[in-house]
């Protein structure tokens, strides 16, 4: 490794230590530094002079870190606000989906199921029915919030795909538990709640994986290219 490479690596380490955290930003600043150094060397300066000049022109590390973190905070605020707005919309959508599509389907299925077993269909008492509908609607609407919450957390950098993949088995248990708790003690209605809940989680994980994909590719190539 040449002196210049060592100096750049050390500079990068300092930038990271001072709080410029994302490797995306570090890669970009490093690319800039290399552009500047190359330009100076071409116009006749020594590598050392070129490096020092480039670092100086880049400005104080503290100021850069501050600007980046301001930027990051604004980004977080934006995604949290957007998450809230979408979350409210999705909650209402979940209620509607549940009331108009899922509950009729679940009731029909459970009726067919008991008939198939040879029982007469369950007769609902009004208060039981209302409580059932209310619970499934609440469960489903909260389930619909899962992608909104998960994807917002991913966007603001709290959660990564690896975490979602690891958490899968716990999520399955939680969803099964919720489904058992919120529906009638009968397999069909439980599945009708569990499957969409799990599907929503899987969709969130898939979207996260897709988002991270190009990032990973970028990082590995940028890291393995000392230029």
């Amino acid at each position: 490794m040449s002196n210049l490479e060592r100096a750049i690596a050390e500079w990068r380490r300092q930038m990271a230590a001072s709080g410029v955290k994302t490797s995306e930003s570090l890669n970009e600043l490093e690319a800039h530094l290399r552009d500047d150094v190359e330009h100076s060397i071409r116009s006749g300066r020594s590598a050392e002079q070129a490096f020092e000049g480039a670092v100086q022109r880049l400005g104080s590390t503290e100021a850069i870190r501050k600007e980046f973190s301001k930027c990051e905070r604004a980004r977080c605020r934006y995604f949290v606000h957007r998450g809230l707005v979408i979350g409210i919309g999705v909650f209402l959508l979940g209620e509607a989906f549940c009331y108009f599509a899922m509950i009729p389907a679940a009731l029909a299925a459970s009726q067919a199921y008991s008939q198939w077993l040879g029982f007469s269909a369950i007769r609902w008492k009004p208060d039981e029915y209302i409580s059932f509908v209310w619970r499934v609607m609440l469960g489903m609407s909260l389930g619909f919030e899962v992608p909104v919450v998960v994807l917002t957390l991913v966007k603001i950098g709290v959660v990564k795909y690896r975490f979602l993949a690891k958490a899968r088995k716990y999520v399955i248990i939680i969803n099964l538990g919720l489904a058992a708790l919120l529906t009638t003690p009968e397999v069909i209605t439980q599945l009708v709640l569990f499957l969409p809940l799990q599907l929503l989680y899987e969709i969130s994980a898939l979207v996260t994986w897709y988002w991270e994909c190009p990032d990973k590719k970028r990082e590995t190539t940028a890291e393995s290219s000392p230029g």
Binding site: N27, E28, L29, A31, D35, R57, G59, C71, T221
Partner: protein, 115 residues
């Protein structure tokens, strides 16, 4: 180091976005090139602190005005190129109106005074 023609800090800050949008509307570019281009076009009177450009670019990207992608250049190095998006053109149009309005007011006033 600072010549008296150097444009003031506040004005430089206010003009950063329209300058970037205008440059990118001519074609894609990267941070270092944008800085050099502005320095050249302004006769060295606009000097951005190099490192401060990138948070601005990120903010503009986040607003959906510009987009970026890493491209490989010679000897395997990578550079992040920015290009303008449709919303960026729209924003530029707005900014252009505002700066032109300001410019025409000042020009009008100064003409009255000096001619």
């Amino acid at each position: 180091m600072y010549s008296c023609d150097m444009i003031e800090k506040e004005l430089v800050a206010a003009s950063t976005e329209p300058l970037i949008l205008s440059l990118l509307s001519k074609g894609q570019s990267y941070g270092y090139e944008l800085i050099q281009e502005i320095r050249r076009l302004s006769g060295d009177n606009i000097r951005w602190t190099d490192g401060m450009l990138y948070p601005v670019l990120h903010r503009m990207e986040h607003k959906g005005w510009i987009k970026s992608r890493w491209m490989e250049i010679e000897n395997g190095r990578k550079r992040k190129y920015y290009s303008i998006k449709k919303d960026g053109h729209q924003a530029l149009k707005q900014k252009r109106k505002q700066w032109s309005a300001l410019n025409s007011v000042l020009s009008g006033l100064w003409k009255e005074q000096y001619v």
